[in-house]
Symmetry: C2
Amino acid sequence: MLDNILDKVRALFKLFGFVPIDTPIVERLEILAAKGGDVDKEIYALGRAKANDSEAAEAELGLRFDLTVPLARYVAQHFNELSFPFKRYHIGSCFRGERPQDGRYRQFTQADIDIINIDRVPLSFDADIPQVVNEAIQLLGLKNYVFRISNRKILVGFLTGLRVENIQEVTRIIDKLDKIGRETVMKLLVDQAKVSSIIAESVLRLASVATSDIGFVDQVRQLGVQNELLEAGLQELEYVMRRVTSAGSREFSADLSITRGLDYYTGSVYEVRWNDHPGIGSIAAGGRYDDLASNYIRKKLPGVGMSVGISRIFGKLAQLGALDLSRKTSTDVLLIWEEQIEESQLQQIATSLRNRAINVEVYYAQEKVARQITYADRKGIPFVVFTRTSEIKNLVTGIQEPFDAQTFTGKAKNN
Amino acid sequence: MLDNILDKVRALFKLFGFVPIDTPIVERLEILAAKGGDVDKEIYALGRAKANDSEAAEAELGLRFDLTVPLARYVAQHFNELSFPFKRYHIGSCFRGERPQDGRYRQFTQADIDIINIDRVPLSFDADIPQVVNEAIQLLGLKNYVFRISNRKILVGFLTGLRVENIQEVTRIIDKLDKIGRETVMKLLVDQAKVSSIIAESVLRLASVATSDIGFVDQVRQLGVQNELLEAGLQELEYVMRRVTSAGSREFSADLSITRGLDYYTGSVYEVRWNDHPGIGSIAAGGRYDDLASNYIRKKLPGVGMSVGISRIFGKLAQLGALDLSRKTSTDVLLIWEEQIEESQLQQIATSLRNRAINVEVYYAQEKVARQITYADRKGIPFVVFTRTSEIKNLVTGIQEPFDAQTFTGKAKNN
């Protein structure tokens, strides 16, 4: 069940030292709108259905559209109580007034992890973030996805080394490579960005580099461009790729076509795509940014983080019928209420089992045993207990055997 | 930390066979407003901050103000997939455009449990609900509260037996006993409800009955009123009180002054008050109702449930400084990154510990050891590990001893 999966994701984040925060779903509109850009017109604003004048004079409020804006406000507000580097996770609902379509919802759940520090963020965290998110994606049950990593310094350094002037324009065009293809990008680079076809060719060769190991370093160097920033980017990405592939994970790809968020990210960038369902867009993304909360606080607070599209993933898994929704309960055992058995006896057995973390229901009335077993069966409760004979029956295997409440630990195999 | 406490509450609900549901925070306004009453003008409606005409033509939306309306819609919508009796829990945010004050928030978290069935709800569930909620309140760390239980049939039967005609009016007055006191209630009963002073006296005697065991039954019978409904109510409440007090809990009180929700509840009613903070109102409440979803579906769906005011409780605990917020992380162990140690060695140790559910951080840079220990100390991480000497230090006790990653299980005592 979804809730159980999210419990596991929460536990995973804690395994790596992330702490949960919870911020209000409702924020002041001016805070939400401060980020600017296209998202503005998707923000839901609040009003009172039946307000009088004094109530209408309240501050204008809206619903959060991501978990980054609330993080920034939270860090600024609690700056003196927080211990840095601050590692937080946040699983919560966000809202956008989009036209609902495949992979896009008006209310959706995001799972974000970020590490924020004062002044500088150690490179080690650039590897932690994709490592944790990759494990989270595997918990969600995804297969056949690719976890692309790049570093913004590589493209920017490369273009600088080639003395390209309109770097933003070129980056914006490269960002579309996936969608519009190599030839159109080539044409746009020459016609719109006014770079020579030789340089455009070189940039396209860089953007085509994708290796599942650190082979990308040599491939880029063979392109013959010399630049300090490029070199720094290559070294950072090499470190990250070494770290994330060290345990043998095969999902990672150093892919230099990834640019993400044109102005926001400044170093590592991440993007996860589900090969079977490219249409729903990236299922997780993020990167390193220079300043989280400059709108609110006069401290430089750089960070690195990723956001996982929980609703996007679960929505597709549900469409595919790939979510096991057959068990309608977490209950492990149903205590059958047989004739001549007092309810208080059953309640005592239930308490002793619950004290050992076994989920128990006592059947709610003294009815026909067959009816009670049907109840367990319909809900997918794997075990039923008969108190009169002290026996337990596994409804999955049909095996019936002696039952001892003090020693029984048997969670079902299909739990 | 709050999140850990709510994790325990979720686990508790599952121990008793409740399954989680998650419903949208945003519902259609017509669904929200269907409940009617005072809450209407507190409903937050959604609009788009910058909408054009076609977007403004969307269905009107609002934010849920409780978890009952969404439950009704959910049960009606998924009726054919659900297995009845349907036992659900729901921990979620609700929104009311109230003036914020002690114990009242515009966004607040409720934890609800309900059991819904078709046509009739077995009495056994009337005892399950307060039992589970009482355990939840104890998990939240509350002391000195009273868990009052009554049954609407008692007052209604009693008044019927006395041939009182305007039962609703009398009930409404009795409901104010806590606030306006015995004398004013007496006056209102005579002046407004037009009952004789003898009958008013008798009703007040009933409402004054409060016992921590089943003593209330005799006390009510001594008042000498004969009525079938009264008798049914007494028997139901006796059953519930026997069940909830059977494990020795001393928080419960059969208190006949409790009426709750004048038209909604029809049998058992529950109300929990925090003796130290009566000003914040009830911290949990609920009861048995005849029909959950008659607005949506032509089935009779009675139920019994309670709602716990998580924000109200946590808000007050936080004000009191009673929440242990000293540990800023769930991390159990920090691996110190000493000189001559490769990061990859530390990552391997971290992975082997995480595989055994131990929360681990690897320090993010090879810095002075004292600085790394300060990091652990500030976050409240209880253990640090020195890889070069294979030693572990408990920062709480100061004890340092040999460390073996394969056998270490030591969660800190103050975890």
